[in-house]
């Protein structure tokens, strides 16, 4: 390598997320699931100890996956492997980086350890973070996140919160583009977001990083809905491996994500899919169980 070589630049970090666009990233807990996901056409897998639905059911503290599991998954597939670290847990993040994970999800699905998020610029590995609205997305980008996803409400099989977060994000981006230069500092104050990134979004009309949908996606139609709302791709957590026939459902969600505007295609891949994961009503959920309120 010559002297012009640089690793871990914004372009290199954000670039990997660009390559995942239009694809589906699936939660997996072991090598077998990772292979099923890869064969179904997943663009990446997310390695974790338990899928969000099981974390919900089990309660207690949810942590980074066992490094042995992460390594097993890395060795099983040729597609990128992501893994979750707890919000603010920069040591878990360093451990995952040292294992060779391709992306770290600083995730509200796990139990947060700090009110501060990880200083993501100090890492070579890129990070993805969840966001409920534009301000939260821009704060994470300010900390160095190279990819954003909606938070949704994970492990519920209920896409309503992901829809809410994406709609709010779109509305707020639209609003920013209508403001003049004299109004942007006030907008930054209102969004509680860094002014440089606010200016960038106001000028371009979009986030400077890729934005995926996550949290509650359980069916091919859910995936296509989020794509039509403007998401760049899809994370499926519990939706695949908590369903009746994971292999077939995984393929169907991949195809619905590619042909998200084609209702006839979505109908054909959705036909006879078997049991979807059991859903949870988010409205009647106690506030203490809402994962989306973790980290801000």
């Amino acid at each position: 390598m010559d002297t012009t070589t640089e690793h871990g630049t914004d372009r290199v970090k954000r670039g990997l997320a660009e390559m995942l666009k239009g694809g589906v990233i699936m939660d997996v807990v072991n090598a077998d699931q990772a292979k099923i996901a890869e064969e179904a056409g997943a663009v990446a897998v997310m390695a974790l100890e338990r899928v969000p639905a099981d974390i919900r059911a089990l309660g207690g503290v949810a942590r980074m996956a066992d490094p042995a599991k992460v390594t097993e998954i890395i060795n099983a597939v040729s597609i990128p492997v992501m893994a979750k670290a707890r919000i603010g847990h920069f040591v878990e993040a360093r451990v995952l980086e040292s294992l060779g994970v391709d992306y770290i999800d600083e995730s509200e699905v796990l139990t947060p350890v700090d009110e501060f998020h990880v200083d993501k610029r100090s890492f070579t590995v890129p990070f993805v973070n969840g966001a409920k609205d534009l301000g939260e997305a821009l704060r994470r980008i300010g900390e160095g996140a190279a990819m954003i996803r909606t938070k949704g409400e994970p492990g519920t099989g209920n896409v309503v919160e992901a829809v809410r977060h994406m709609r709010l994000m779109n509305t707020q981006i639209g609003w920013l583009t209508t403001l003049g230069p004299d109004q942007l500092m006030n907008a930054a104050k209102e969004l509680r977001a860094p002014i440089e990134v606010v200016k960038e979004v106001a000028a371009s009309g979009k986030l400077p990083v890729v934005n995926f949908a996550a949290g509650g996606i359980a069916t091919p139609s859910d995936a296509a809905l989020m794509m039509q709302l403007g998401c760049d791709g899809i994370f499926v957590g519990s939706g695949v491996f908590k369903s009746g026939d994971p292999d077939v459902r995984a393929r169907a969600i991949v195809e619905a994500t590619t042909f998200y505007k084609d209702a006839a295609k979505i109908a054909s891949v959705s036909a006879g899919l078997g049991e979807a994961m059991v859903g949870i009503n988010v409205d009647t959920m106690p506030a203490s169980e809402r994962m989306q309120d973790r980290g801000d």
Binding site: T5, V12, G15, E18, M19, V43, I79, P80, E97
Partner: protein
């Protein structure tokens, strides 16, 4: 001129933005009919296994092969290079097999080894800033393939081809679409205009 980008998965929009910047009509290609309607085709970066699988399901492999055999210029970047190639050093995956090279996937290592660097390319006067993301390199080059750029392996394992041309097939293992440097895209459009 109508330049298509295979829009099954990956960063096809960035490629189409370059095409528009160069004053041509950029179109998303997802069906055999759309393959038939373009003057040149770009295979974008993305996940090569995903792109290959979807192209197979949707019956695009033969239509694309036929157009390339008929002389349509094509440009593949990263996953696109893998998709055009005749084989990989690893497990089998769907490939067009129109470019006579064997590629090694993720040749530089995992994402922490991804990098950008200045790259000298035959036919271009100044170096290009090249963004390599979990990039492949070419392990074996066929007789009719012209090597336009090489990179030294990080472990000192010698030079490997990263930009190649075979007739009207152009392939790069990095992502010119992620920078403002349009010279390789211009090369593709020149190939189409020569026809």
């Amino acid at each position: 001129m109508k330049v298509g980008a295979l829009a099954l998965q990956g960063d096809f929009r960035e490629h189409l933005a370059v095409v528009s910047r160069l004053g041509h009509d950029g179109v998303e290609v997802r069906t055999a009919d759309e393959v038939a309607g373009v003057d040149a085709l770009i295979i974008p970066g993305g996940e090569s296994t995903t792109i290959g699988r979807l192209a197979t399901i949707y019956g695009l492999m033969d239509p694309i092969r036929d157009r390339i055999a008929g002389g349509m210029p094509v440009f593949g970047t990263c996953a696109g290079m893998i998709f055009l190639a005749s084989g990989t050093t690893g497990a089998d995956q769907p490939q067009l097999g129109v470019l006579d090279v064997i590629v090694e996937r993720n040749a530089f290592g995992r994402q922490v080894e991804s990098f950008e660097a200045d790259l000298r390319i035959t036919g271009l006067s100044n170096p290009m800033r090249a963004v390599f993301i979990r990039a492949p390199w070419i392990e074996k080059v066929g007789a009719d393939v012209e090597v336009l750029a090489t990179v030294e392996a990080p472990d000192g394992g010698g030079e490997h081809a990263v930009v190649v041309r075979q007739d009207r097939i152009l392939a790069a293992s990095f992502h010119p679409e992620l920078t403002a440097d349009d010279r390789l895209h211009t090369m593709l459009i020149d190939l189409a205009e020569e026809r």
